[in-house]
Amino acid sequence: MSNSHDSSIRPHAHHFDSAHHEFESSKQGMWLFLLQEVLFFSGIFVVYAVIRGLNPEMFAAAAGLLDVKMGLTNTIVLITSSLTMAMAVNAAQTDKKEQCVWYLIATFFLACGFLVVKYFEYTHKFHMGILPGAGFLNPSDTHVIIAQTFLISAAALTSFFVARSKTGFRLSKKSVWISILFWAVSLYLTISYWVGHHGEHRVVGQDAQNLIDQFAKAPLFFSVYFGATGIHGIHVLGGMVVIAWLISRAEDAEFNSKYFTPVELVGLYWHFVDLVWIFLFPLMYLVA
């Protein structure tokens, strides 16, 4: 066990034949996890199919209130992050340790960017009185507080993982900057909301009013929208936490051509999150 910090040799657990066997088993475990993720999301797509199939006109009209530009931005951000993640895996496999760290950091920031765009999208919807289900046209500060709590807890979780290190609770230089930046963005969004826009969201947008006058079931669309993108957002958040953990390990030079299991597995997860968004984007934003 004494050589577990040696970057070139990694002993495999005793119940595996070899390090390769261990790697393949871990990867299969990840695929099984992704299998249940597909089934988990298939439930959301069923809800989508049923509600859209029963209310096609309402669906098209309600989707018209979504911002295609924001959705497109997030699609590009997420695909780019998938690309940097693939590059991080490649860097780990080819012993480019420094590059690996930077690609992981880039992936992390792109994920962060995705959530920030989502935050602006959500709060803008709240301001217009667009909320899921019974909250439609009936906004309260609670919704914004939930969105902010979401971001701040993300910041807190990430800080915790970034600070974690095998050699103790040590903050490495790059990690600490990531954490500080994330905190700054979260706090800026929160403070600017409470200083500038407090109460403003109660002004209900005419668009939302027109929509519900025409289609009484319109809130159903936004239940699907917030439900599907929200659960996807939680997956992005989860990805950020594990990527932050990878960054701190990569900085400790723990990954190399002989051992890169965590990078590869997180990569699989991250590409899956991208994959879900590839379907959510046209299904939500481009039906109008």
């Binding site: 066997h21 597909v38 049923v50 695909i79 690309l83």
Partner: protein
């Protein structure tokens, strides 16, 4: 052999492949947004899903390296997609292709219509009269006229003419609630049957049309028995409706029907 096992033997995706796949994904993203601007009619959805599927395949085959992965892992992933598809397709088939009458006029629906929300609908009351007037103005005025004088807009084309409810001599059957109820339910002559109306509506109409003319004849217990009212029971043996007495999925269906009527 042992040496081979120790060899990682992983497929390493080259930087070139990663960049090319990335560029393809950007192109297809542009294409997704671009084709959304065109109207392919019924093909809009399949086209959007086709492009999304191509993108998803690129991600799965290259970024997730399924193209180079062990066969078990490919089977695992494809299995999840197959089961997801079964889930979506079977649910859609059930929701979109179920025959309407299965849940609109099934036996439970008739049972629900038979139950009454009025205490004793065969006994005249002000609520029944008010309700009856409402139903009358919706269902009956076309022939019987707004005052029940048999002079509705459609009456001109009818032979024989509809009765004038305000004149006792014009009635063919006895001016008795049970008789009116029976005619409403089963029809008589040119008067069509309105048995599809809820029981409440038929009793309310009975009292209303009788109120338009002179005082009617009272029903005996045996008269009522003929139209399914058992006076020995407080609810007349027809039951009282309440959401708790309905199966939950049927109650939801009824609420949905109510909602669509209100819209």
């Amino acid at each position: 052999m042992d040496h081979n096992k120790e060899e990682p033997g992983h497929h390493i995706l080259t930087v070139k492949t990663i960049v090319v796949v990335g560029i393809c994904l950007f192109i297809f993203t542009w294409l997704t947004v671009h084709v959304a601007g065109y109207d392919f009619g019924a093909m809009n959805f399949p086209v959007a899903m086709l492009i999304a599927s191509i993108k998803a395949s690129l991600v799965a085959l290259f970024f997730m390296a399924l193209k180079y992965d062990a066969v078990e892992n490919r089977v695992i992933f494809v299995t999840s997609l197959v089961f997801g598809a079964i889930f979506i397709i079977l649910t859609s088939v059930d929701i979109f292709f179920r025959a309407d009458d299965v849940y609109v006029t099934g036996p439970i629906f008739k049972e629900a219509k038979a139950a009454s929300k009025f205490k004793q609908p065969w006994v005249k009351s002000n609520e029944l009269l008010t309700h009856g007037k409402k139903v009358f103005s919706g269902q009956c005025v076309a022939c019987h006229g707004s005052q029940g004088a048999g002079d509705g807009p459609a009456a001109a084309s009818l032979n024989p003419k509809p009765r004038d409810f305000t004149v006792a001599a014009d009635w063919i059957k006895k001016r008795q609630p049970s008789q009116v109820y029976e005619v409403l339910t089963n029809g008589v002559g040119k008067m069509p049957a309105f048995g599809n109306l809820p029981l409440d509506d038929r009793w309310a109409l009975t009292h209303y049309v009788l109120s338009l003319g002179p005082k009617p004849i009272k029903d005996s217990d045996s008269d009522l028995k003929k139209v399914g009212i058992d006076t020995s029971k407080p609810d007349g043996g027809i039951g009282t409706s309440g959401p708790t007495e309905l199966p939950i999925d049927f109650a939801i269906e009824l609420m949905a029907v109510d909602g669509s009527v209100k819209q």
